[in-house]
């Protein structure tokens, strides 16, 4: 804690206190619930609760009537309200859905600043609309038109007061606090509204119950006792909220689409007509100094069928690359009906500065990219693959082949131990479909593995592949038993792997499942 406060510090703060800007705050109550319900298509009239780390984070009005409260455990909440629909918190979707609110406000006023999902603020556009009340009415009208029903607005000096004014307002209404009236309005609020749980408990124990009591303390005392954080909250309590409001830049809309009327059936004319759109997308991005490294191509048909796929580029998409991708997608994933619309949606956009060509020649990989694009044109995009390793137990699970230009994440982490996997060296040949095999004992009886992992009788002959001859076994090791996904009836597998060498020097990896032997790989 910083205990030394200079006079100039405090004097400087006083100077900056002069004027807090008039702020219009829009508050959408229970936003996590609204966002989750919108995503899942649930009605807000149902009792819903969003949980975060096993505790109620937000709940709908219906659930609140039943007695569900924030911070409750799942069991308690369900006990109060048995028909409660439990939703998991999804911050990404909260931010995504709040975008609708922001863009609705941005239609009438620039400089909207999101505080958190469910709360945003803007400078009151009072002069243009002839007064604060009128401005709020216009905002309300636009929000309702955008399909947002439950919101409240507050106008005050500074965000803090405006937010609490909004909490007072009736739905779709605005609570206005006159200029320099913030201190008086805040004074009656309980101290609990300060968002610093530690400070709140301490102040309560000191006998300070309302923001007014807190505001009445001397600036210097607060500063020396509670540090900068405390001093900042003290300023808020006094209605001196001049935190700078950083307004956001509306996101650029880079999506391009081309419609066909009448709808087109064959691939060539679609690709030909898309050429201009692709050019336009690349030009539009370049105008903003951007390039696209990942693009989603959506194909929409007359009947409403939509084919969608994400394409990645190791450098960035030029118009001709986009045309190639459209062509491949239409060939690989043909539309069942005539196509009426094609959309190009840039998924990840990066600054051109990071991707520009060097002064002396360009990146080494460029000619590789070009050569591979040519091959993909010849064979189809699914035939040219990029290899990678991943986690898994069988040699086949441990490798991953992805189409070159498509980015698919590794499903299993290769860093984990994967008990039951065969130790190195790895087999040099891994059969894409295991070969059916036969393993026999000395007296030509089939070798079996009991559920306890016992091998009876010992293997002496093996035949790899269908109808191939029996080879005498030189040595063998195993079983490496694996009881995978035993909790899932449909996917459960109980297998055991063996390494076998034959007298001719070849080594094999065999697997037995339900008394049927397969050869998975060959060591050579």
């Amino acid at each position: 804690m910083n205990m030394t406060v200079t006079e100039s510090d405090i004097a400087g703060e006083h100077q900056r206190d002069v004027r807090a800007e008039r702020q219009l705050t829009v508050w959408c109550p229970d936003w996590p619930v609204v966002a989750a319900a919108t995503e899942l298509g649930l009605s807000l009239q149902l009792p819903l609760a969003v949980f975060d780390h096993g505790e109620v984070f937000a709940c709908s009005a219906m659930a609140r009537v039943e007695g569900v409260r924030r911070g409750m455990r799942r069991r308690d909440a369900s006990a109060r309200c048995p028909e409660l629909t439990v939703l998991e918190r999804n911050e990404a979707s909260e931010i995504r859905t709040f975008e609708n609110v922001l863009s609705a406000i941005e239609e009438i006023s620039a400089g909207v600043s999101p505080v958190r999902p469910g709360l945003c603020t803007l400078r009151v556009p009072s002069r243009f609309y002839g007064g604060e009340k009128e401005a709020a009415a216009v905002v309300a009208e636009h929000l309702v038109a955008a399909g947002i029903w439950d919101f409240r607005m507050g106008i005050a000096d500074g965000i803090f007061a405006a937010e609490h004014a909004a909490r007072r307002a009736a739905p779709q209404d605005c609570w206005i606090i006159p200029p320099s009236g913030s201190a008086a309005f805040l004074a009656v609020l309980p101290i609990g509204v300060v968002e610093n749980a530690e400070l709140v408990t301490l102040l309560r124990r000191l006998g300070i119950r309302s923001l007014g009591d807190f505001a009445a303390l001397a600036v210097r005392d607060v500063h020396t006792r509670f540090g900068r954080e405390g001093a900042m909250l003290h300023r808020l309590a006094r209605g001196l909220d001049n935190r700078p409001v950083v307004s956001r830049r509306p996101p650029l809309d880079m999506d391009q689409r081309v419609s066909f009327a009448p709808a087109l059936e064959t691939v060539e004319p679609i690709v030909f007509s898309a050429r201009q759109t692709a050019d336009r997308l690349v030009a539009e991005l370049a105008h903003h100094g951007l390039v696209c490294t990942e693009v989603r191509i959506e194909v929409v048909t007359e009947g409403g069928w939509t084919g969608s796929r994400v394409w990645a580029h190791s450098r960035w998409f030029a118009a001709s690359d986009l045309i190639d991708r459209i062509y491949w997608q239409l060939q690989g994933d043909p539309a069942p009906e005539p196509v009426c619309e094609l959309r190009l949606l840039p998924e990840s956009v990066e600054s051109l500065a990071d991707h520009g060509e060097g002064l002396w020649g360009s990146a080494l990989t460029e000619h590789v990219e070009r050569g591979i694009a040519r091959l993909q044109g010849m064979l189809g995009p699914e035939e040219v693959l990029a290899p990678a390793l991943q986690g898994g137990r069988s040699p086949r699970d441990r490798q991953l082949l992805n189409p070159w230009s498509e980015r698919r994440p590794i499903q299993r982490n290769p860093g984990l131990p994967w008990p039951g996997s065969i130790p190195p060296p790895a087999p040099a040949r891994v059969f894409s479909t295991p070969l059916p095999s036969v393993v026999l004992s000395e007296d030509r009886r089939p070798v079996k593995v009991t559920s306890r992992g016992q091998v009876t009788p010992a293997p002496a002959f093996v035949s790899i592949g269908e109808d191939s001859e029996l080879i005498p076994v030189d040595a063998w090791a195993g079983p490496w038993p694996i009881d995978e996904l035993w909790w899932d009836q449909a996917q459960a597998r109980q297998v055991a792997r063996f390494q076998v060498t034959s007298v001719d020097g070849s080594a094999w990896l065999l697997v037995v499942e339900n008394d049927q032997w397969w050869t998975e790989a060959r060591y050579d």
């Binding site: 000619h367 590789v368 050569g371 591979i372 040519r374 091959l375 010849m378 064979l379 035939e383 040219v384 693959l385 990029a386 290899p387 990678a388 390793l389 040699p395 441990r398 490798q399 082949l401 070159w404 065969i422 130790p423 190195p424 060296p425 790895a426 087999p427 040099a428 040949r429 891994v430 059969f431 894409s432 091998v455 010992a458 030189d474 040595a475 063998w476 090791a477 195993g478 390494q499 076998v500 060498t501 020097g505 070849s506 080594a507 790989a521 060591y523 050579d524």
Partner: protein
């Protein structure tokens, strides 16, 4: 694969054509950098043009032709190799190759009757390159997953040029 690893570690691109059952983990184990590897598992009838196309991209192409290679096809690829300064390793028969490596004897160590695991392999590779056939005994791989000549001196394999 062991032959290719040296090239890959030197930062060159590798391409593998027509070998859908090649073990990628083993490839990585031998030192091939999968980040700089292109795989075309099923080129079908186009294997010759795919290989030629990949020679533009990669310095070393491993190819397993689905059909016997004619002398004429081999000659066409060879002229291309000369221009591109690349190498081709063929898994199978190749007419008039510069060098041919064959494993003539191989035995795995580490397995018993129901215990142990595969750890190392002793091989004898016969190399035919112009002159008389040489026989080189090797650990492929050794117990420490390295490839070692069997009199226990570490000799990195020279990159063979076939084609």
């Amino acid at each position: 694969m062991a032959m290719v690893a040296g090239t890959s570690q030197a930062g060159e691109w590798i391409a593998i054509v027509g070998a859908p059952d090649l073990g990628l983990e083993a490839a990585a184990g031998f030192g091939i950098d999968l980040e700089r590897t292109v795989v075309v598992p099923h080129p079908g009838e186009l294997w010759l043009s795919v290989t030629a196309g990949l020679l533009d991209v990669a310095t070393l192409v491993i190819v397993k032709p689905p059909v016997p290679v004619s002398a004429q096809q081999a000659e066409r690829l060879k002229s291309r190799l000369r221009i591109k300064d690349a190498a081709l390793v063929c898994w199978g028969e190749w007419p008039r190759a510069d060098a041919t490596l064959t494993i003539i004897e191989s035995s795995w160590l580490g397995l018993g009757q129901g215990y142990g695991r595969l750890t190392a392999r002793r091989v004898i590779v016969s190399v035919r390159q112009g002159g008389p056939v040489r026989r080189i005994p090797l650990w492929l791989p050794g117990v420490d997953q390295q490839i070692v000549e069997r009199d226990d001196t570490v000799v990195p394999l020279p990159v063979a040029r076939v084609g």
